[in-house]
Point group: C2
């Protein structure tokens, strides 16, 4: 049974893309078959793996806007047990293009249902908004993974997101559950980060993963080398944290 996990948080720059590429790599390392899907018109996931979202054809855009496109036909290998549904700048047009389609929120979900691709995990990266692209991710998934930055005000957007999840759960996808919350960009030695982490623990309790992703240069440098941080800097604290998170995710269900 494929676990379809959408990584969403409409606040910008909180570590969604970083979580998708690195959790994906860690699960693949454990022998899980993983598909990463890039739904963001800015396609940082895609670019950070060495592809050009300006020129690619056969992308998430094709999957969302054309009928009868198979998932298999858009997949690109990126490593052992790891394949990518690349994003494209064309995704920016999806809002308008799908507006009148009666199944506009179900395009990604239907594409997954049609496909015969065996995968243990599909991890979906989403843009910093609550528009049709993120909604497609939320409707296609059974689990939501919520990265929250260790900054004051991180909780603000979480309320809006959880309300949207609830609406989607009620009206479009009763299967969607909160898998958990991952604290990201934790600055060691910052009392600010410490206080936010404590508050996250209080609010989310067991739903907050033990693994905390620290702010570490290697994480930001890895995509420039077109690698996950596990490949780029295997002995970094971040690599260890993502590996630990993969174990937690495997056992969370």
């Amino acid at each position: 049974m494929t676990r379809v996990i959408v990584v969403a948080n409409q606040k910008g720059g909180v570590g969604k893309t970083t979580l998708v590429v690195n959790l994906g790599a860690a699960l693949a390392e454990l022998g899980q078959k993983v598909i990463l899907a890039d739904l963001d018109p800015q396609s940082a996931l895609t670019a950070g793996l060495g592809f050009d979202p300006y020129t690619l054809t056969r992308t998430a855009y094709t999957l969302l806007t054309r009928d009868h496109v198979s998932l298999a036909s858009v997949l690109r290998p990126i490593g052992d047990n790891l394949v990518l549904v690349p994003g494209s700048v064309d995704l920016a047009a999806v809002e308008y293009q799908l507006a009148d389609a009666p199944d506009h929120a179900f395009r990604l979900r239907n594409a997954f249902f049609r496909s015969r691709v065996p995968a243990d995990f599909i991890l979906i990266d989403t843009p910093p908004s609550l528009g049709m692209l993120t909604v497609n991710g939320l409707v296609a998934a059974t689990e939501l993974l919520l990265p929250v930055q260790c900054q004051y005000l991180a909780m603000r957007g979480v309320r809006g997101l959880l309300e949207s999840i609830w609406l989607i759960h009620e009206r479009l996808n009763p299967d969607l559950n909160l898998l958990g919350v991952v604290a990201t960009m934790y600055k060691t030695g910052s009392d600010h980060s410490r206080e936010v982490l404590d508050e996250l623990r209080e609010v989310f309790e067991q739903k907050l993963f033990d693994s905390v992703i620290q702010d570490e240069d290697a994480v930001a440098k890895a995509p420039v080398a077109c690698k996950s941080v596990l490949a780029y800097s295997p002995r970094s604290s971040a690599a260890a944290a993502f590996r630990r998170l993969a174990q937690e995710v495997l056992h969370a269900q």
Copy 2:
């Protein structure tokens, strides 16, 4: 002559909102009359100044979607020489609501033209996307201020943004110029930040402001106190940097 400056960068979490509130406060401190305008449905600028974007009426949303609404009727005082056009969660609907209006890119600009509010500066905060809200900001402005995070890959999105600026310049707003680039979230002691800053200097030359905004807890804590960092932590490096930036902006024209 009012200088209308749009702060834009479609990448999330690069410091747009932080720049608007703190540069605005620094200009107001120098005696300039400043209007801050929040075009982001997430309305972090508005919330960080103590307002509730879920319940406010008379907001940027009203200004964009109704005819004959005066700028004066939506302004809220926030300090000496400082007023706010608040954002609202309703802004999320603007994309659809304005889609068929022939003047959809000009709504904000026309609202500014209609108004008789004397201001030296209008600073416009935009969401992390290149949709109709950011376009309204780019069309209403004469100057673009571009915050760029001191992270590898910061330059990626800048290319897409500059292409959009060029298109807007050609088709919608020939008055729009690049005021300059501000390096944000610089991590002292990080060779990574140093390298990115050097590259920004190389690429943007004189257009890169000398003032660099460092990563500093006080900046993230200030909005929780509903203050600018100048008010919250006047002796922080960040407060000094924003004050210096205000001087550079004043003399940049």
